[in-house]
């Protein structure tokens, strides 16, 4: 979430030959939001993790301050967020190419592919599907070296004017999930038969509501308590 918004905010720095105008419109819209807080409900459906829907409050402040506050445990995707943030801040490190238009959920979207120019970036490839008519991101697909690919779908409600989604669905790679060896020996096991979940992908659905935009959040809020 945090990193996605950071990506979007930093996109003005991207040197785009053909799609910069469309991206710039999106970035301009996003720049109207200096800070916000939002209630989130997170539903995770990930192999090897069992968790009931959980609630949290998310705080964001320009340009990259982000905080999740929850009583319970909330799982959010992490892949490629901080890397894409640093990556997009330097225009010379990537190239943006406008691609085909297509439809996602009945909406016409423009594909914009962001390709890193150097070899030492964590991000290998970033794809953005943009609804030009409303200047909104509908879908992203970000591939990193160590963490595979995260695909994110966006749905907008009454906060579309700020380009703030009401729903985000993340699809993540779970191939690398492994249990620590010390847990492998289960003294509770009754037989040698093993139950394995063979899925390689998991999803996290985040419903966002009760946005409070530009309320003047203080930097103190984002400081980590020791």
């Amino acid at each position: 979430m945090k990193t996605l918004l950071s990506i979007l905010l930093l996109l003005p720095l991207v040197g785009l030959a053909q799609s910069s105008a469309k991206l710039n419109k999106v970035i301009t819209k996003l720049n109207t939001v200096k800070d916000y807080s939002v209630d989130v409900e997170v539903k995770a459906d990930i192999p090897m993790i069992k968790i009931l829907p959980s609630k949290a409050k998310v705080y964001f402040k320009q340009k990259d301050k982000f905080k999740v506050v929850s009583k319970g445990i909330v799982i959010l995707p992490k892949q490629g967020f901080s890397e894409i943030n640093t990556f997009l801040s330097d225009k010379s490190k990537y190239m943006a190419i406008e691609g085909d238009t297509s439809k996602i959920a009945g909406v016409v979207v423009q594909l914009i592919t962001v390709i890193p120019s150097g070899e030492d970036n964590e991000i290998i490839l970033a794809k953005l599907w943009v609804d030009d008519s409303r200047s909104l991101i509908i879908k992203t697909q970000i591939t990193t070296k160590s963490n595979g690919t995260v695909t994110t779908n966006y749905t907008y409600g009454d906060m579309a004017k700020f380009a703030l989604p009401s729903k985000m669905v993340f699809e993540i790679d779970v191939k690398k999930f492994k249990l620590p060896k010390s847990v492998a020996a289960d003294i509770n096991q009754r037989s040698t038969e093993k139950k394995d979940d063979k899925r390689t992908k998991g999803s996290i659905t985040v419903n966002l509501s009760n946005y409070k935009v530009n309320t003047g959040l203080s930097d103190e809020l984002f400081k980590k308590k020791s």
């Binding site: 319970g72 289960d186 509770n188």
Partner: protein, 280 residues
């Protein structure tokens, strides 16, 4: 007479220094764990979530009292049986070694009631041990670390349980853990009926637990037939309360097997003690 002799047996247990040694050792172990978690609990959490944290971020108050309580229960499941056996393994054979069995067996109380009263007193001691453990693990940990959701690492992955859904699991888990420890108590008392010295039944109890635990953890299909009937297989059944959903069928099966073990062991002890010629 059963009630009176049970009271006697409990008085004897409380009069022995080793009974308090067990409680003291348990207290020290738990406080050590709490101290270690307070000092460096986050690295233990990272160990558990390491492979997931490449892709996911875990937000919230993870290092809370419930997690500490779970870790304590998990770590001590091997040690607490020894503390139980140290006291209960001595209940019959210790008296034989001391000669007091002679005095006891010439009183107007049947040998069956003598064994039953020792079993009940041992059960009460075991209950005190587990209640104390529960108090330190759950209550004291909450006081120091606060509350929150519980993240549990099972053999099939992570399970995250919501705060309001945890206490009853600990309650039920401790009850099943108590039943498991009661089985250890019954085993040691049963072995005590066959021995004439203090240390033999204690060592034998631990040896049996270790042997059965090893058989239970070996990933060899040849043992699959007997594993379900070993009481050590069911000693960790309390963990099943921390799955989602809770498999009550499996848990009840474990409870039944442990109850049957207890009945058989006590019956065997009564049979042996009734036949025994007391020559010491």
């Amino acid at each position: 007479m059963l009630r009176k002799n049970t009271y006697n047996e409990f008085v004897k247990i409380l009069s022995k220094p080793r009974s308090f040694l067990g409680i003291g050792a348990l207290t020290l172990l738990i406080l050590l764990i709490i101290f270690a978690m307070k000092a460096d609990g986050k690295s233990i959490i990272s160990f558990v979530t390491a492979s997931f944290e490449q892709t996911l971020s875990f937000n919230g108050h993870i290092l809370n009292g419930y997690l500490i309580a779970f870790i304590i229960l998990q770590m001590l499941i091997v040690h607490v049986p020894l503390l139980v056996a140290l006291v209960t393994g001595d209940l019959i054979s210790g008296e034989a070694a001391m000669g007091t069995i002679r005095m006891l067996a010439t009183k107007p109380i049947s040998r069956t009631k003598i064994v039953l009263s020792k079993f009940i007193a041992g059960a009460i001691y075991t209950l005190i041990l587990i209640l104390w453990m529960g108090f330190l693990a759950v209550i004291v940990s909450q006081w120091i670390f606060g509350t929150g959701d519980l993240i549990v690492l099972n053999s099939d992955g992570l399970t995250i349980l919501q705060e309001q859904d945890i206490l009853w699991r600990f309650g039920a888990g401790f009850m099943v853990a108590y039943l498991a420890l009661l089985t250890v108590s019954s085993l040691s008392i049963c072995l005590s009926a066959f021995a004439e010295n203090s240390i033999g039944p204690i060592v034998a109890t631990m040896a049996i637990i270790i042997l059965f635990t090893i058989i239970g953890t070996l990933d060899v299909s040849i043992f699959d037939t007997i594993k379900p009937y070993l009481f050590t297989t069911h000693m960790a059944s309390w963990r099943s309360f921390f799955e989602n959903p809770v498999d009550m069928g499996t848990i009840m099966e474990s409870v039944l097997i442990l109850v049957v073990h207890n009945i058989l062991l006590v019956a065997l002890a009564i049979w042996k003690f009734n036949r025994k010629d007391i020559t010491s």
